[in-house]
Symmetry: C2
Subunit: 134 residues, 2 copies
């Protein structure tokens, strides 16, 4: 079971790199050089981040990507949501009508409380906090 899949991981690392170079547009070519991420795949990920207003982009020569907002306002949980869907640990149990005995719902409650904790913790992680190493 993974909390973070590879595309989130890649995206996160790229965003961190971009955040560390705030004054200029960072191109895919540069990112590919520094990180071991397949070019086409990375391009796709960054395009998604642009659409989702995490990054902003400029075309043409000298173009590339910048953060669309302060690193303090970019949360890890947002990247996870974009690439992996909403954090919902108990999906199965809610969807299942057939949960036959009421008592089993004790499980649902427990998982809900775990989920709440996870989301809260993930919400405390921003790009800024990662850069600071906190």
């Amino acid at each position: 079971m993974k909390l973070v899949t590879r595309n989130t991981d890649y995206a996160l690392r790229a965003v961190c790199f971009i955040a560390r170079n705030p004054k200029r547009a960072v191109s895919v070519s540069e990112l590919v050089e520094k990180m071991e991420i397949p070019r086409s795949f990375l391009r796709k990920l960054l395009q998604v981040l642009s659409k989702k207003k995490v990054l902003r982009s400029s075309k043409g020569q000298g173009g590339g990507f910048l953060l669309a907002r302060s690193p303090k306002k970019i949360f890890l949980v947002e990247l996870i949501s974009i690439f992996q869907g909403q954090v919902k640990l108990n999906e199965c149990f809610f969807k299942k009508l057939s949960c036959p005995n009421k008592k089993t719902c004790a499980l649902r409650k427990k998982i809900q409380s775990i989920e709440d904790y996870v989301v809260k913790e993930l919400n405390s992680i921003t790009i800024a906090s990662l850069l600071e190493g906190k």
Copy 2:
């Protein structure tokens, strides 16, 4: 993102049913009647649980499955491990040598601490506690 996939879910429900009928072997046929789980699939899941010593089985007419130990000693986290692999939220980050800047490891630490919490909570859930509705 799911904490519990369908096979764990099915297995859990079956185990709970078996736990509620402790004095006799419960057959797949009976479980299929009560729960909406495809017969072949459920058979496979129960066979796995037998191999893993969560259940014990008896063949032949009147045969079926019983718990191999007290419901207090069967943990949800064990079922998750069996069907979904070990709970390891931060797999990606550990495996990646390329984690380029030390600082990003702040993330690893954070995710580790989240994982510790999740595992601890999951470890507190037993079949017995689910039956009691706690």
